[in-house]
Symmetry: C2
Subunit: 336 residues, 2 copies
């Protein structure tokens, strides 16, 4: 188009919108379902059990070590499908972008999205782009919605049972620490990097293994603590996790200590927390660890008894038990 | 929650997010699929032909005569499904909201969304809410994604045939004129009102009637002109529409004349443009007009010959033909 920045006209729905779609969007998101550019994508799969989700992404900075808002928008929605036992199939994407946004940056984002789509063997089948005056939006917001086919049924945050074992697939807090450090310009000696990654390759073998899974969640906003509190509340059970067993990278630990908060409240974007019967725990761990992205998977705790005022406990390094507080407050806006 | 305004903490993913969902979102969007609050909604319909779409809404003002951003976000996505021949089934919704947004206003929006959902017999099955600092977003943005079951196949913007007749279901430009007037504070003697409305009740009888439909579109951003240009380009045909036959309300006409532009470029949010074989045109018109929202439906033009440099013509009130320009430029940001 010979322009370097997005104009309000690119969102007008007329000539310029069509060029934006044809010259840039279709250049990256090329697939036979999107290309007809109709008002809705037409799918012909015979799907009997469908999972359907949506997630908005406002992360700032939009480019960060380990990913960018586009990669995050695909992996985030894919992961929400996967942790419900679904094979991701199709995504739709809505962009809200400030006037003057660099087209080169948009292209980097589109390319990342397509790379993730290919990695997950999914198509981005429909989209929408709005351009908003600079004073009314900061950078770019992306909302992705996804559908998938449920291949493993019964996963639910209401499904934790006393005696269940709790696993995590890798070190926690990487994404949250990375974003906070980059946004606030906090200099750390060791580099922090987001764990932003699709969970499909990690979890597919688990779904196919025949082991029993009770609950599964990717601890994004609110981190591990919010994840565990949601489970405790939904299943009306007490939970305990052990500090010593929860994998945290040294640089994340150092970052947290320096800033005076705990990694349990920091977002992950490529980790999964799983609750399953003890009998299947070792096998699950073995399957997880066989994938490079989950090599540090570990059993971190267990489900205690039923309770009408459920609580989450942390067994500290000193062997004492304390309540692990739910994440709260406004420390972490625009983390995802 | 005892608070009147949204806080950054409401988007943090922890305690306050859960209260926002439980105290407000679920109060309006109540249905058995959303209520489990899992990472993705689980659907059990056997759907063989699925339509899937997404749309972002940034309209300003967020409340306007005839609707608000919430009503628009449901009708807009529903209409994108319906014009592809699909019965709408489920919606997901992503909110991006500025810190300090009045909860009373959010409730009005949620209520409108639920009212439209009920009108369309659909469920809002999953959602996401991000709260962003005031300096980084203006008010509220809503992205809705929808799936539907295709009950009439073959509709496509590539499917216009020479000889086809073009119909519109009612007066054009109401939404665009209303939003522009309200936003710019333009005082007009006669009140302008958005046509924001679901097309499902209007079009369902048409799908069931056995008549042949070639193309169908709701002329939102870019208005009738962009709609016709997209069709001409996609089907490689010349089109002609007649000024005298295109319904435009007198107040919209007056508004356009006063501001020096044409109603063909103004968005509609409750109208549909249809191309179908001449043999079915009268029957289609009769079916459309039998619904109160399409009482002013009219045949406005026809498809001429095939062309490799397709054009859209307007037969003026004086009987002359001129080219109807595509919508372009940045006159209309945040119209939807």
């Amino acid at each position: 188009m010979g322009v370097e920045k997005l104009l309000l006209a690119h969102g007008g729905g007329g000539e310029e919108t069509l060029s934006l779609i044809k010259d840039f969007i279709l250049k990256y998101f090329t697939n036979p379902i999107l290309e007809p550019l109709e008002d809705a994508a037409l799918l012909t799969n015979q799907i009997s059990r469908l999972a359907f989700t949506i997630d908005g992404f406002t992360v700032k900075p939009i480019f960060f070590k380990g990913g960018n808002i586009g990669k995050l928008a695909v992996t985030g929605t894919v992961n929400d499908l996967v942790v419900m036992g679904a094979k991701p199939l199709y995504l739709t994407v809505g962009f809200i972008i400030e006037e003057g946004f660099k087209i080169k940056d948009l292209e980097k984002i589109l390319q990342s999205m397509q790379e993730e789509a290919i990695k997950n063997e999914i198509y981005i089948v429909a989209g929408d782009t709005k351009i908003v005056p600079k004073s009314e939006v900061d950078g770019i917001f992306i909302t992705t919605s996804g559908i998938g086919e449920v291949i493993y049924s019964g996963i639910s945050c209401k499904n934790l049972k006393p005696g269940d074992v709790i696993l995590v697939s890798g070190p926690i807090g990487d994404h949250g620490a990375c974003i906070l450090a980059e946004r606030e310009g906090i200099k750390v000696d060791i580099e922090l990097e987001s764990d932003c990654e699709t969970l499909w390759p990690v979890l597919k073998p688990l779904f196919e293994s025949g082991i029993e899974i009770h609950a599964m969640r990717d601890p994004t906003r609110g981190g591990l603590a919010a994840n565990l509190h949601e489970w405790a509340y939904s299943s009306q059970v007490n939970l305990v996790v052990e500090e010593e067993k929860i994998p945290v990278r040294p640089q994340v630990k150092a970052f947290c200590e320096a800033l005076g908060f705990e990694p349990y409240h920091l977002a992950c974007e490529g980790r999964v927390v799983i609750a399953l019967p003890e009998k299947d725990a070792e096998k699950a761990l073995e399957i997880l660890r066989s994938h490079p992205s989950a090599a540090e998977a570990n059993i971190i705790g267990q489900v205690l008894d039923h309770s009408s005022s459920p609580q989450v406990y942390l067994k500290t390094l000193y062997g004492t038990h304390r309540v692990l507080e739910n994440t709260s407050g406004e420390l972490f806006p625009r983390i995802c």
